[in-house]
């Protein structure tokens, strides 16, 4: 009897599935990405502030910004920044739909998740291809 009780106590208790072992689903990934893009945009405002102050400061200060952001890594950050803005915006639009009480069924949730990824990536690509085209690069 005592044996049985101690076995029960020492046996590892079942745990609810957590991020590490849960099968990735579009909705949970979008939730995490929404928070990550939000946090990234938070620090991304430093880039905006740096740019604006440099313009206000003069040509020399802006040249430094352009030099750093003109580097391939800088360009990657800029493309990532605009993508994060758009993705966070689409995530927010999803939340607005949910706020009205609509779109909670599984198929809507999945569709909205994929739609926000696809739209944010497509618009980011179109944006920068358009910008390159206007600059005469493409």
């Amino acid at each position: 009897m005592a044996d049985a009780i101690s076995k029960t106590i020492t046996r590892p208790r079942p745990l609810s599935p957590h991020i590490g072992i849960y099968r990735q689903q579009i909705n949970m990934v979008m939730s995490i990405v929404h928070r990550l893009t939000g946090a990234a945009l938070y620090f991304g405002t430093l880039l905006l502030a740096w740019w604006l102050i440099a313009v206000a400061q003069g040509a020399q200060a802006l040249d430094l910004v352009n030099l750093v952001m003109g580097h391939p890594l800088g360009k990657l950050v800029l493309v990532g920044y605009t993508w994060a803005l758009l993705h966070h915006m689409f995530g927010g639009l999803r939340h607005f739909i949910w706020d009205t009480g609509r779109g909670f069924d599984l198929s809507s949730v999945n569709r909205l998740g994929w739609l926000s990824v696809i739209m944010s990536v497509l618009i980011t690509l179109a944006l920068w291809l358009g910008a390159l085209h206007l600059q005469g690069v493409l």
Partner: protein
């Protein structure tokens, strides 16, 4: 003859220790109720057109020379949306980061310190951007 009942008699299963005043105010334990939720939605709504504007501004003027960017930012139709974006943006991001801090930082001291730093950061970044845009607009 029965006396009219103003509110239902609390049953053992639905007993509440909240006072009627607390229920009417609806502010909860934080004393702020759902105000952050609502402010996050209102600034989010404002941020939709302003985000589209910023994305366009960055793609259009990133890497451009000083004379071009300065001339653009001195135009009211660029300066004013930029100011609105900064104000709505830092308001929105301050609430968002507060939620992140409250979710992951559980030590009381660290939490209070980070919440204060969050406020300082939002105000400092916001004022820096506003200062720069106003300097460009008002300066000669």
């Amino acid at each position: 003859m029965s006396t009219p009942r103003l509110r239902p008699t609390p049953s053992p299963t639905h007993a509440s220790i909240r006072t009627p005043l607390a229920k009417v105010r609806g502010l909860g334990a934080s004393n702020e109720g759902t105000s952050h939720f609502w402010q996050q939605r209102v600034t989010a709504l404002a941020n939709i057109p302003l985000t589209i504007f910023l994305v366009w501004l960055v793609a259009r003027y990133a890497g451009a020379d000083h004379a071009t960017v300065k001339a653009a930012m001195q135009k009211p139709w660029i300066a004013i949306p930029l100011l609105l974006l900064v104000l709505s943006g830092v308001f929105h991001m301050r609430i968002g980061m507060q939620v992140i801090i409250e979710d992951y930082v559980h030590g009381e001291g660290a939490k209070v310190l980070l919440l204060a730093l969050n406020t300082f950061f939002a105000i400092a970044v916001g004022l820096t951007c506003v200062f720069a845009v106003l300097k460009l607009s008002f300066g000669t």
